[in-house]
Subunit: 290 residues, 2 copies
């Protein structure tokens, strides 16, 4: 049974999800419409989101997930000079896009779980090519989103070795899942992405799109330590930020105070931002409007 959404609708929803996520402000620590980083600015994220439209549409009909991540990573930097903006998001969006094409939106989760398990060795090879490209590119920049640090696949991750050992992209992300909450989504059936979608859609019913994005982001941070922070610094730092998010939710600190502190300390919960993108995307597929 094919999906009931058109490729064009699905691709525009993916682009819009990326644009809405980065627009949500204040989104403590991450780039948003009112916060740039040195070398990467809000407009870079907007241009990247719009620039990859054709890859999002292509994903609806063809392309392995690895090659799509590779293609999107390349297309993104043809539109902006801020480096890697959405690598982590692609890891979530492409399986969800293919799931939306495979069946009705009610079966999105089930189909996404199926699809990641079908990933191939070629996907792993392409993923590593994308990963190396992004990593090289990030040498001059601060790492801003998840996925570009310390993906663990054992000691030997050469392409030949992946092939010899028969390692698929699913295998890679399964191994990475312990330390990477984006990879964990593949293994845990997009648990937090769908949780984010529920939070966002429900908050949107009674508040603005911006509030829905920001509050959901804050709740997600308060619930689990962000692995991008843990990889960039250490787990203690991620737990510290988690605690601060709880403080904001329990009114011991204002959102603006948290925002100010994370920007000053240069701590950005990049993996949580990727989850929020996936959540907005899912909510849009289910009919949420801005």
């Amino acid at each position: 049974m094919a999906g009931n959404l058109t490729p064009s609708f699905i691709a525009r929803s993916a682009v819009l999800a990326m644009a809405l996520e980065v627009s949500g402000t204040p989104k403590p620590g991450n780039i948003d419409r009112d916060h740039d980083y040195v070398g990467t600015k809000y407009e870079d994220f907007i241009a990247s989101a719009i620039g990859v439209y054709p890859v999002m549409e292509k994903a609806c009909s063809t392309g392995g997930i690895g090659s799509l991540i590779l293609e999107a990573s390349g297309e993104s930097v043809r539109w902006q000079g801020g480096g890697n903006t959405h690598f982590g998001a692609y890891i979530l969006l492409f399986p969800l896009i293919k799931a939306a094409m495979r069946g009705p939106v009610e079966l999105l989760k089930e189909n996404a779980i199926e699809i990641v398990k079908e990933s191939t060795i070629q996907d792993a090879v392409d993923f590593y090519r994308a990963f190396s490209m992004v990593e090289v590119r990030m040498k001059d920049k601060e790492a801003l989103t998840s996925g570009e640090k310390e993906l663990d696949v054992g000691n030997d991750s050469s392409l030949e070795e992946l092939d010899r050992r028969g390692i698929t992209l699913y295998d890679i992300l399964q191994i990475s899942a312990k330390n990477d909450m984006v990879a964990r989504e593949w293994v845990e059936g997009f648990r937090r992405s769908f949780m984010a979608a529920e939070k966002i859609a429900s908050k949107r019913k009674t508040g603005t799109m911006n509030d829905a994005t920001v509050l959901s982001y804050l709740e997600l941070i308060s619930e689990e330590p962000d692995t991008f922070i843990a990889k960039k610094y250490d787990l203690d730092k991620a737990l510290y930020v988690q605690g601060l998010a709880v403080d904001v939710l329990e009114r011991r600190m204002t959102l603006n105070e948290l925002s100010h502190r994370l920007y000053v300390e240069k701590i950005n919960p990049g993996s949580t931002a990727d989850i929020v993108i996936a959540g907005i995307f899912i909510a849009l597929l289910y009919g949420m409007k801005v």
Copy 2:
């Protein structure tokens, strides 16, 4: 001789131009990333820009300008609840898109001039259908962009009458040109759109994308009274805003003061925003990056 840009690149540039224009802040009086209006917010403009992507791509190969404006106006409100966001911009973007497909970017202006003169009676009919749709929709909202008020085509503008008198879309906009600076672009060879493109591209060389957008917008307002203001209020009000923009450029008032004053007084230079969209679009076609 065909153009050297792909439909996909042209369409993404049109979407990005709309997104960058509305992002530019502070853009006194108009909605921007930090200023919403009651009933219409920043995210509505972003969703509308991304939502009309397929119409922008379609314009590269087929569709009369009138029917494209009609289609885009309909598609826009399927993605957001803020009403008419880009009607005036479509009047400029579609001829420019078709011009980009007709020949090399160096001949963009010449081809755009040719293309608007080729507009038909059917374009006029479709334009009026779009116009009525937008007008009806705007009854509950404040008019936010140009094009939705007082397009003068004589006393009788029924569809039958247009057909009987052989009136094309070019004719309509020629008649409207006196009171509408967007319509005037069709008659004056997109003079201010290309002037805006030059300003934006040149400022982007030495400053941020946001500064390039905002300063160009300010210069444009200072050079000619905005006709959207003139139609919503009167010419005096438009001249008053023009004078204030000069004050800012000559450092007698800050940009933030002007911004605050126009929001408080609910004066939005909507036609100038449309010109800025066209200018960013042209600059992107010429190779500008965010």
